[in-house]
Structure formats: C-alpha cells, structure tokens
C-alpha cells in the first residue's frame, strides 16, 4: 500500500486543533508549554465553548499565550492572574474563565493571589505549569526548584539552609475549602498527555458545577534552563521531579 492511499481525509486520526493559530510558538524546541497549549485548545474545541472562554495569561514564558489560542484573553501583571480572573468570572458568571501560570508567577510573586482566590472559592480554572525554574529570565531558582538542583542563582545546587525547601503549592491549595478539583499531571509521554487532557476537560466542566477553583498542575520541563536536550529533560523530570511532585488527583469533590 502506498502512503498516498493512507493520506486521505477519511483516514485522519489526529490534526492540529482549529483553535490554535498559525503563529509559530516562540517556545524552545520540546517545551511543555506547547503541549499544554495544544491540550487547552483541543478541550475548548471539544466542549464547543470557544466564544464563552476567557483566558488570563501570566508573566513568564507563556506571556504570549494569547497569540496562540484563538479565544478571548486578558493579560495580568506578574502573579495577579487569579485576581484578574476573579473579576472576570464575577462580572461574567456564565463564561469559562481560566488562568495559565508558571511556577515563578503562581508560586512566588503570585502566592498571595492564588491562595486567596482558592480560599474564596472563585469559579475559575487554574492551569499551573511547574518546571522548577524561572525559564524566561534565564534559569534562576524558583520556589519549586528541587534541593541540589543547579540554576543560575544556585550554581552549587539549592541548599535548604540558604534557600529553603521546594514548595509543594498544589498540596497547600488542596487543603483550602474553596478548591473542588486539585490534580497534578505531566505531559512527557502519550499516556500522560491523554491523562492531562482528561484532567483539563474535567476542570473546565467543573466551571458549570459552581463548586470552586479547579486546579491542574502540569509538571513540565525547561530544557534550556536545565541545560539538557528535550529528551534528556523528560528523563530527568521522571527521575527527579516525580519523586518530589508525585502525579495524580489530590482532591476531587
């Protein structure tokens, strides 16, 4: 059988989501952001809520998220995406509102905002990409950086005496009564990508249940910041990150 016999419209099983724009993503090769953008676009397309979804993009590598997914967006100041999403969801309670934040944005400068948004039980979805580093600014230490991990500001590895301990913010948020669904996923293998998509779908569907914040953490890689190839970065993530940040649902009510 020739390839031209297989490459036909009726045999199509997977193609680029219609919600993803033709802009070439500025992310480094192999970046987890690209996979999660794709999954968010696919979930919104499958739920058919393109005209009812409002995203809030953060500061960090994903600051240009509004260039890539064809929905309505707002851009928030560093770490303040949950506060902006709170306002949008209260003014437009019929819309699906989500924030898309990295670990420097959410766990460091935006720690107060996410804590109180989750404690108030706002009706929003939070997508949290945890790659244990500040990728955009050149690979500095983030609150989620692992002990012993080398970054540009911890050249001898993170030392607990000097820099404190890695922050498991997802577990902290799961203890708050305002969250209804808290989960940690990854996007390194096809199976993990499918699980993450299901988690995101559930999170968006929870918006209609009006039960509070749905929080989806995706443990990702920053191969430029970690100074590894994309394949090695995924391997390193499986070996080291999953030990500190175990995958799975933490809370589901």
């Amino acid at each position: 059988m020739e390839l031209t016999d297989i490459i036909k419209e009726e045999n199509l099983v997977l193609k680029k989501s219609k919600l993803l724009t033709d802009n070439v993503m500025h992310y480094c090769p192999g970046c987890t952001h690209g996979v999660v953008h794709k999954l968010i676009a696919e979930v919104i397309e499958e739920l058919n809520i393109q005209d009812q979804t409002i995203g809030v993009s953060p500061v960090g590598c994903s600051v240009f998220a509004y260039n890539y997914i064809d929905i309505d967006w707002a851009e928030a100041a560093h770490g303040r995406a949950p506060a902006v999403a709170t306002a949008i969801s209260r003014l437009h309670p019929e819309k699906y509102v989500f924030t898309y934040q990295g670990d420097g944005d959410l766990a460091s400068i935006g720690c107060a905002e996410i804590m109180h948004a989750c404690n108030r039980g706002e009706n929003i979805v939070v997508v949290f990409i945890n790659n244990a580093i500040y990728g955009m600014t050149g690979g500095q230490m983030a609150p989620t950086t692992l002990l012993g991990q080398v970054t540009s500001t911890t050249p001898y590895g993170r030392d607990a005496k000097l820099n404190g301990f890695p922050m498991k913010i997802t577990e902290l948020l799961a203890q708050l009564d305002g969250t209804c669904y808290v989960t940690r996923q990854s996007a390194d293998t096809p199976a993990a990508v499918r699980k993450t998509k299901n988690a995101l779908k559930k999170a968006f569907q929870n918006t209609r249940r009006q039960k509070g914040v749905s929080f989806v953490e995706v443990v990702g890689t920053c191969n430029s910041g970690w100074k590894m190839s994309p394949v090695d970065a995924n391997k390193w993530m499986r070996e080291h990150m999953f030990e500190k940040y175990p995958l799975g649902d933490i809370k589901d009510i």
Binding site: K16, P29, G30, N234
Partner: protein, 75 residues
C-alpha cells in the same frame, strides 16, 4: 502483518526538531532528517514508513502541533 497502516505528515517548516516524537514512537518509524528546514532545525520524517500503525503517539507529544496522523484498516 499489522492490522492497521498509518502515515505521519510533518509540517517540516514549523518542526523544531525536539525529537520528542522520535522517542514516543513505539514502532521506531520517525527520525530526524539529515537536512534542515528554513530555521536550521533537523525536522522529523518517516524513516521507516512501513512500520507505522497510526497510533498518533507522535502527534500527542508534539509541542508545536506540526504532526498530522492518518490511519487505515488494511484487513
């Protein structure tokens, strides 16, 4: 012989050559091409097209959504 035959079409100009699809492929169909695209990346291509079963694992892990997958039942 495999029940299904698949085919992968890569948008070579937008591929960044991260090779995540190469390691995700269970039947070792894909590899990075010795040539480069306009941006200087070695793009992914079907090195061994007969082995493709159309499972779409490559497309799932692709961060830049440059992979389109087709699958046909051959029985």
């Amino acid at each position: 012989m495999a029940k299904f035959r698949g085919a992968v079409v890569v948008d070579t100009e937008h591929c960044k050559g991260c090779s995540l699809c190469v390691v995700a492929c269970p039947t070792k169909v894909l590899d990075l091409h010795p040539n480069v695209n306009g941006k200087g990346y070695h793009y992914a291509y079907m090195k061994n097209p007969e082995a493709c079963i159309g499972c779409a694992s490559c497309g799932l892990v692709c961060p830049d959504s440059v992979i389109t997958v087709y699958k046909k039942n051959v029985e």
